[in-house]
């Protein structure tokens, strides 16, 4: 079959054309996270004919994913297939002409750097702010555009961040939020996911074919259930002294101090996570949704399924009941976002 025939309708679109299609086929996209946002982004970019797509995810497919995470099937749940692998298998059946690289790792400052370095565009499909700030720093250090995206409930937001040009995630949020709302806490509907992915994919296509003047310079925020859609001019948010995108960047998420660190506490069936310092009061109210919460002046604890989480005032968290760093981090980010 002719490659050109496959992309015929996309080449007919004046914004892309034959030249744009050739460019897409020569480019690389890095998708970080392969949950709801990541699986759909991967599908759309695979169909569009982006030459190389790398998908990073540490997780495997579960029942609660199927309601909104495209590409995955019941069989993937039974097999507990890693999400990146399950996605890649489906994508190859959709388009055997392009290269899909599934990578099953927990993204860190070390292992993410070379992937960002080799990408033309980085797509944020993560579910926590720690990784997003890591992407923000790496993207600015490597001068790569990245497309922020997040959703919960029927709401979502997205913004295309271009080093040296737009404000960055740090400029927008000023401080790392204590908590970001997660789908595990507030729920989410499929269309909210697709709305974010639709915008992220469009912006990725524009970036990949270098249609600079078409890039959306606004932050998009929407609520599909309540029929709100706003495009927000955020140029004022850019700070010349920003530690990620400013004149003298220090890339705090890449420094040893700024990172969330994990270690297995030997023989205790416990993982220790050293991250942000949370307000114990705020934690208390957040954790109430998950189970019975116990508080004393030094710590807050909660039992979830077979595990117990203990948050200390100094930013340490114990996840009792597991020796798996992956499982511990997953539960941790489900709560703190």
């Amino acid at each position: 079959m002719s490659v050109m025939n496959r992309y015929h309708r996309q080449m007919l679109f004046q914004g892309i054309g034959q030249e744009g299609q050739a460019q897409l086929l020569s480019k690389q996209v890095l998708i970080i996270g392969c949950g709801a946002l990541g699986s759909s982004s991967a599908e759309m970019l695979t169909r569009a004919g982006v030459g190389e797509i790398t998908i990073i995810d540490r997780d495997y497919v579960e029942w609660t994913n199927l309601q909104r995470q495209h590409l995955f099937t019941e069989e993937d749940v039974y097999q507990q297939t890693p999400k990146a692998i399950a996605a890649a298998r489906k994508l190859k059946k959709i388009n055997s002409d392009i290269n899909i690289h599934p990578v099953v790792i927990d993204a860190t400052a070390e292992n993410l750097a070379s992937y960002v370095q080799h990408a033309d565009v980085v797509i944020d499909a993560t579910d926590n702010f720690d990784t997003r700030f890591l992407i923000n720093d790496l993207a600015h250090k490597c001068r790569k555009p990245w497309i922020f995206g997040a959703c919960v409930g029927s709401s979502g937001m997205t913004f295309t961040i271009i080093p040296g040009q737009t404000p960055c995630l740090d400029c927008l949020l000023k401080v790392t939020p204590m908590f970001g709302a997660t789908c595990d806490a507030v729920g989410v509907i499929g269309p909210a996911v697709q709305m974010v992915v639709t915008h992220q994919t469009t912006e990725a296509l524009k970036l990949l074919i270098d249609a600079k003047e078409k890039i959306n310079s606004k932050l998009i925020i929407f609520d599909l259930w309540n029929n709100h859609y706003q495009t927000i001019d955020v140029s004022r948010a850019k700070r010349p002294n920003c530690s990620s995108c400013g004149e003298e960047p220090t890339y705090p998420s890449l420094s040893y101090h700024g990172r969330t660190k994990t270690e297995v506490l030997c023989g205790r069936n416990t993982v220790q996570i050293r991250g942000k310092q949370y307000s114990l009061e705020l934690l208390e109210s957040k954790l109430a949704d998950y189970g019975e919460v116990k508080v004393n002046p030094f710590l807050v604890s909660v039992d979830i399924d077979e595990k117990r989480l203990v948050f200390f005032q100094d930013g340490r968290t114990f996840v009792h009941g597991t020796n798996s760093i992956e499982d511990a981090k997953k539960l941790y980010y489900q709560i703190v976002g």
């Binding site: 996270g33 949950g35 709801a36 946002l37 990541g38 944020d124 499909a125 993560t126 579910d127 926590n128 702010f129 997003r132 995206g149 997040a150 959703c151 919960v152 409930g153 709401s155 979502g156 937001m157 927008l172 949020l173 401080v175 939020p177 204590m178 908590f179 970001g180 709302a181 997660t182 789908c183 595990d184 806490a185 507030v186 989410v188 606004k218 932050l219 925020i221 609520d223 309540n226 709100h228 706003q230 495009t231 927000i232 001019d233 955020v234 140029s235 004022r236 948010a237 705020l282 109210s285 957040k286 976002g337």
Partner: protein, 77 residues
């Protein structure tokens, strides 16, 4: 009237997605405090504020007729 749109988890906390405030003039900082007091929004401090689809700073003044969006940190994906 100032129209305030709440997004994501703030809607659950407030029990609504839209609030009408009968106020003449108010700064961004003040409107955050007002909403915090009236609706106990846990994350309003960490929320982005946009006035008429433009990113707002704490000292900006909001006028009647303005549409204010309160955008909390959202992390799902």
């Amino acid at each position: 009237m100032i129209e305030v749109l709440l997004f994501a988890q703030l809607q659950e906390e407030a029990g609504k997605d839209k609030i009408l405030l009968d106020i003449k003039e108010i700064t961004v900082k003040e409107i955050k405090q007002t909403l915090q007091t009236q609706f106990h929004l846990s994350q309003i401090e960490e929320s982005m504020v946009a006035v008429n689809e433009s990113y707002a700073l704490e000292g900006d003044v909001i006028q009647p007729g303005d549409i204010v969006a309160i955008i909390p940190p959202v992390s799902g994906g």
